[in-house]
Structures are given as C-alpha cells and as structure tokens.
Symmetry: C2
Subunit: 156 residues, 2 copies
C-alpha cells in the first residue's frame, strides 16, 4: 500500500485499509449468534447440546453453522471424541479469547450507553407521531431546520 502522493489518502485509507476490514469483522461476528456463543465459550468449554440448551432460542442449524464459521475463522476448536454416543467439545482458541477483549469493550460501551440510544430513538420516533408540523417561521430567516413531516411514516 504505497500510493506515493497523499491526495485523497483519507478516503483511500478509510475505504481500503481500515473500514473494509472493520465491516468484515463485524460481519464475522456481527451475525445473530456468534458473540453469544463466543461469550459462553469464554466461560468454559462446552458440548454441542450444552450450548444448545444454554443459549435458548437458537436452532440446531444455526448453532451448527455459527460454530462452523467460528471454527473456520480460528476462534473456536472442535474436538470429537469417537465414543458412543458421540461427544463433541467446543473451546475458544487463543485468537478467540483475544477477540473477546475488544468485543467485551464494545459490550461494555453498549451497556453504559444503552439508555442514551433508547432515548434518542424515542425522541426520533415521537417526531412522527406528532399531529402536525409547527414551524416557528422566524420572519425572513432561512436557518437550518430539522425535518418536517414526510408523506408517510416508515414504520407502519
């Protein structure tokens, strides 16, 4: 990565060196179950149905799929004991445990700021449920506004 001259490097950096990977990882663990599984495995090694029961709501298919992806990406190890009945254990790898650090940080941030987000949503949603438009209409001014009233609400 050496474009030489630094014009447009902001965009270039943002697009190709920092953001693409970000979205990539967010897609990696940003699906419905990955983080949940990783955090459970962060506590202890677990078997398939043990995870299944623990997670509550996950289907067998999604548990399999998600575990397979996590294994592929190097976050969990799958160990088969060829007994009867079979026994399969899933464990976090070092990489998985390390991933847990920034993910936990993000989790903590969400925990802390959840209320602010919810409040922002309430304010936003209230705009649409209000009866009509009221614009103070300062005489002659053309200052910035903040949304008027669209033809339709986007949530029903």
């Amino acid at each position: 990565m050496k474009p030489g001259h630094p014009d447009h490097t902001d965009s270039v950096n943002l697009q190709h060196e920092r953001c693409r990977p970000v979205h990539e990882i967010l897609s990696l663990v940003g699906d419905k179950w990955s983080v949940l599984i990783v955090r459970f495995l962060g506590q202890k090694t677990m078997r398939f149905n043990e995870l299944r029961r623990a997670i509550d709501g996950i289907s067998q298919k999604m548990l399999t799929t998600t575990l397979r992806n996590l294994e592929r990406d190097g976050f969990v190890t799958r160990t088969v004991y060829p007994t009867i009945p079979p026994r399969v254990e899933y464990t976090l790898t070092d990489l998985g445990r390390e991933l847990l650090v920034p993910v936990a940080a993000l989790a903590k941030w969400v925990d802390i700021n959840r209320e602010r987000i919810d409040e922002a949503r309430r304010r936003f949603d209230e705009q649409w449920s209000e009866p009509a438009v009221r614009i103070p209409a300062a005489p002659g001014s053309a200052g910035p506004r903040h949304r008027e009233q669209p033809s339709r609400n986007r949530h029903g």
Copy 2:
C-alpha cells in the same frame, strides 16, 4: 468462579444483561455501511452526495436508509438548509464520536490479527480439498480427532 450456589446466574447474565445488548449494537452498526459512514463523518461534516461519492459502491437507497437509522439511534445529526437547491449536512453527535472509540479498537484488533484469521481459514479450507482421509489410528486408542470428511463441502 463461584463455588457457592451458582444459581445459573452465569447463563442469565450472559443472556439478558450482556449478550443481548451486544448483538443489538452489533446489529446496529454491524450492517454493510454504518461503520463506513460513521468513520467518514468522524473526519468531518459531510453532505449527502459528498458521502455518496466518497463511499463508492453504496446505493442512494442504502445511504439514505443507513443515515436515517444512524440518526434515529442518535449517532448522527441531520441538518437541512432550505435553500435551492437543498443542502443537507450530516454530523456525528457526541454519542457517535464516543461510539467510534470501541469500534476503532475493534478495527485495530482486526487490522492486527487479520493475518491470523486468514491463515486459520486457509488451514480449515485445505482440509476439504485434501484427497482422502488419513487417520493414524493409534492402536486401541480412542483419543479425540479433528473432523474426518463429510459427504460434501459447504462452499462447493
């Protein structure tokens, strides 16, 4: 961890107090464009088409949708200047800027560990392209194995 009576508090904490929110936020900004937009706006206030041109690949619809969601969640501010032609500016809120911190941390982690993930994937994928199964078969042992050969590959 706590040998007393463990109540099942582990699972409960994981499910309701920590992980659901995590997935929630990951869904929030874990979509295809949110992080990219947030990081662009982290550099400066931008107008609609300015963002559109900067991001390269985003459709007008997705830019609108993603911006609307970010606004709803309180991460960006939308300001309309009722001029002709219209002028709409998007800015990160304080909340948005704060979100950038843990997200940037995650981004950094990915940057650093990208190679390890890629290598894990290569190793994983190679298993499927190998011609046949070879199990050392330690005499009489029934130790753990690591995947044999399924009927089909999942990325065929």
